[in-house]
Amino acid sequence: MWEYTDKVQQHFLNPQNVGEVENASGTGDVGSLACGDALKLTLKVDVNDIITEAKFKTFGCASAIASSSVLTEMVIGMSIDKAANITNEDIADALGGLPKEKMHCSVMGREALEAAIADYRGLILPMAAGEVVCECFGVTDLEVIRAINESNLRSIEEITNFTKAGGGCGKCEDKLREILRDTVGGKSEISSPGTKPKKMTALQKIKKIEDVLEREVRPGLRKDGGDIELIDVDGDFITVSLRGACKSCKKSQTTIKEYVERKLRELVLDSLIVEEEN
């Protein structure tokens, strides 16, 4: 069960301004059925650019409905210019906060507001541009970059909580990591010094494995009168052969798993599996 604030529950159970404004001055339509939430926001704006009426229709969970409801309350009586500055954090704050997995609901509110204002001004939203990164939820790189900057996001998980990107099949994770790195500069790199480059060509991988065996593994084995030879590299499967004293050693399996595999996982790729040649 989600921990919703009283304010969220209140807006969910008694939503304000449900419906559609007749002859709306601006309409914002975001989300889709496939995504699991959608919001249609309609605004009435007077000659002085003041929002006099705001209504919503939302398909989604309790926090999506509450975010929409509180948003309409916030903007009624506000000037268009001021409303254009409302952020998703403002919406979440007005609800006394949202569970972090539900922050995307406040983002949806902000997006609908932005779309409605653009519609009123006769503008085409810049968000329509950009390249789709997450196919499952149709999230573009510009949307991701904006969320990273606005909400100070520092991990893939946070990006998913705020934008939904990466929450489906997960195939875009590498792309998101790249965007995160490019957007926050060196910051995310510094925070995780252990990150190893994931993509290596087969040749690079073999060279790296040879190198680690030579520098880190062989000296130890040779001390005990043994040695190791790399037989094959097939994807993540590494076949090796123990030589000399190691060959007849009863603990050879332990040597391979606890020592060789651990070193290779630590220094080359954490998905490697080392097996002894039969």
């Binding site: 449900v18 309790a62 409905i65």
Partner: protein
């Protein structure tokens, strides 16, 4: 209705069940005076060991098994992992596992991990299901190979209640020398099971789904099936599962199995009728609603219904206001962003998958509770549909 309204209307029995009062009574002595260790040499502990033996016999009786084929575990998930990993250790040269796309996470995640965490040392085939959630037996037969170590297919699905033909599938696996495991956590106690006539090697069950407490499960291991323990340690459970026995819960599970056998007929008559009444009441009373799952090959207690154009979490929270407890396969309730893998595997359209509600009954449900739900649901759905941008009226 006020009598119903004062307490919860619990229709979430596939999630967990009330502990039967008889079970609580049976357990109490072992939570108070009879605290001895069943492995001890003294009579004080020995009498506790005797109670564990009696519970084992009761579980075996319900399943049509022998007591020595019953191993107590901590939960259904432990039983599932133990069975599958035992098969892989028994046949280290075999690297293929067959399962379905609709398994419970206890089996699904383990199979996913077998591929990813081992760098694809193992190959997993996940059988497709059709729109009603059923498996194609020809596809099943075609995927069994000499490399297959074990087949793991649930007896009944937790979300839809669909019952799979595990008797036949186990025989087909057995003919090819392949071990067969079934996660029967939802089937046990709801439909009759007689293992002595079947080729099932491993069966998992969980106490808290059949009115015993949480934290106790069983793995049935057919006599003669090679077995490698998952939890090693002391010689408890004939060396098949280390760790001091959860005596009180085991005794409670024994009592729960005895009760389940007694109430099997009621489950398949009265409970089924209640479920059918609820289902028909909701499907006919609410437009654009549909049943997810097979119409007939289904547990007598489960009904999974989608209300189109509205979202499951919002439905559940409104139901909660009326003290009605159920579950949803929507994305927002799962903590993930996508609706249930079971409904997606069945190809349930997005308009419906997000608005699915699972009602699961037990022998403790009464007709006035069903009437109460049939009375309350239409207004909840209508309220949310009025708010939905996709709802165009009937």
């Amino acid at each position: 209705m006020s009598s119903v309204n004062e307490k919860v209307v619990y229709m979430d029995n596939n999630a967990t069940t009330m502990i039967a009062p008889e079970v609580v009574d049976a357990m109490m002595p072992f939570l108070t005076n009879l605290y001895g260790n069943p492995s001890s040499m003294h009579t004080f502990g020995g009498q506790v060991g005797q109670a564990v033996s009696e519970a084992r016999e009761k579980v075996a009786d319900m399943l049509g098994a022998e007591p020595e084929e019953i191993t107590f575990t901590s939960c259904g998930t432990e039983s599932d992992s133990t069975a599958i990993l035992s098969a892989l250790r028994t046949f280290p040269e075999k690297r293929h596992v067959v399962t379905t796309r609709v398994e419970h996470p206890a089996v699904k995640s383990l199979c996913d991990n077998l591929e990813t965490l081992t760098g694809h040392k193992y190959r997993v085939t996940r059988l497709k299901v059709d729109g009603e959630g059923m498996i194609d037996m020809a596809e099943y037969e075609a995927v069994l190979t000499d490399d297959t170590a074990i087949v793991s297919i649930m007896w009944a699905n937790n979300e839809t209640g669909n019952i799979y033909p595990v008797e036949k599938m186990a025989a087909m696996a057995n003919e090819r020398g392949i071990l067969f495991h079934t996660d029967a956590v939802q089937a046990v106690g709801k439909i009759p099971i007689d293992l002595k006539t079947l080729d099932i090697d491993f069966l998992s069950l969980s106490g808290h789904k059949i009115h015993a407490p949480k934290g106790v499960g069983v793995l049935y291991i057919k006599r003669g099936t090679l077995f490698v323990p998952f939890l090693t340690g002391g010689h408890q459970e004939h060396g098949r599962r280390g760790g001091t026995e959860n005596v009180a819960s085991i005794v409670g599970l024994g009592m729960a199995c005895e009760l389940a056998s007694e109430k099997m007929e009621e489950e398949n008559t009265r409970v089924r009728q209640l479920r059918d009444k609820l289902e028909e009441g909701l499907l006919s009373g609410i437009s654009k609603s549909r049943l997810n799952g097979h119409k007939t090959a289904r547990l007598p207690n489960t009904s999974n219904i989608s209300f189109e154009f509205v979202e499951g979490e919002a439905i559940l929270l409104h139901m909660n206001r009326h003290k009605i407890c159920a579950s949803s396969g929507s994305a927002c309730t799962s903590g993930s962003l996508e609706p249930s893998h079971v409904l997606r595997a069945m190809g349930v359209p997005f308009t419906a998958a997000h608005g699915s509600i699972r009602f699961s009954l037990s022998v403790y449900n009464r007709e006035e509770e069903v009437d109460y739900i049939i009375e309350k649901m239409p207004a909840i759905i209508e309220l949310l549909r009025k708010m939905s941008p996709f709802w165009q009226g009937n």
